[in-house]
Symmetry: C2
Subunit: 209 residues, 2 copies
């Protein structure tokens, strides 16, 4: 089976967006480098026009160091898991995730009626089912769990293999937390990835279980 990796871009004080879901300067490094990278599914003629809810489009240009790290990570994604908040914010990328073929949405509400019936989007109401579903869909490829409330639940439930943080040198003060509502201590190994990009530090930790 593939690994389950919790991932997001994060401020120095642990926030993935402000209280209004604005990512502020957290995503600038995706567009400020000199090395173009393209999410796997954007390479298809029918690929999505947008990657994230910043609406900044698909012209990703990162530093060379970030490209070497992010490119293979994107290519390895089989399925991703997100909460209903992010799904609603980006309207599920209109059925075309930037990477990976499958998306699992954790939500107490069902898939919107008639929403992109062709897309492999699966709505489940708890994180344990989400991870099981995503792993089955991903096969030996990676499952990405979007950090935040759902990611924190997955980590707390012992379902996360690695924590990947793209740390941006900004202090937010408040906002949406990378680890969501997690309420007890969890130990991780020392990072096995420490890569300094331009306006981002890529860190990746194995979770101790």
């Amino acid at each position: 089976m593939g690994q389950v990796i919790m991932h997001n871009v994060v401020s120095l004080d642990g926030f993935i967006a402000d209280q209004n879901d604005d990512v502020g300067p957290l995503h600038e490094w995706y567009f400020s480098g000199d090395t173009p990278i393209t999410p796997p599914n954007n390479q298809r003629p029918d690929g999505p026009e947008k990657f994230d809810h910043s609406g900044a489009g698909v012209d990703f240009k990162v530093s060379g160091a970030s490209a070497e790290y992010v490119g293979p990570m994107w290519e390895g994604i089989g399925a991703s898991i997100m909460g209903r908040r992010l799904f609603d914010l980006v309207n599920g990328w209109e059925g075309q995730p930037p990477a990976g073929d499958h998306v699992v949405v954790v939500s107490h509400r069902p898939k919107p009626d008639g929403w992109h019936p062709e897309a492999s989007y699966h709505f489940v109401d708890d994180v344990t089912t989400a991870v099981a579903t995503a792993k089955e869909l991903a096969g030996d490829r990676t499952v990405i769990v979007n950090a935040g409330v759902v990611g924190g639940q997955a980590l707390a439930a012992g379902l996360v293999d690695e924590v990947a943080m793209d740390v941006v040198p900004v202090v937010f003060g408040s906002g949406r937390r990378y680890f969501g509502d997690i309420d007890r201590q969890h130990l991780l190994d020392d990072p096995h990835v420490v890569i300094q990009g331009d306006r981002v530090l890529h860190l990746r930790f194995t979770v101790r279980r």
Copy 2:
């Protein structure tokens, strides 16, 4: 003048201790390596017996990488600034700070009557006065501002030159925050120090002003 450096050990989610001021595994790296280091003032015959409020004593043994970073940092300290909470927790290290000759305490209450009159401890009631006082006492040496509520106030007031985070791979979930009650975004430069020790990642950022 010397630099003003905000410093503390911190969890991956930005906490310097739990709600009960327990540092948990955050200080383990100080004692789990193979390279002994001694805080400058412990080298004196009358030096303090304790470094921090973990009460773990002075037998610091860190990784070689951490020793090369921490040793010169300790040696460069002229004065440090702390809040009244930490002062009370450690009783001001009984008048003998582990590094530096001078301590400035931010507190609305005065120095306890008769408390170590020989010690260069200065009680002021706001962070601006604290930084000015510490800089004058430190001369061309470094001023360390303990991260937490007081450190966050100093950063918000534009009084911090660098942010030094010793990041331990543990998630806390809740507790005392490294950046205290800071309530708006602050940009920092990319880290000019990225050193992986054993159970700690040393990061240091210049504050953009």
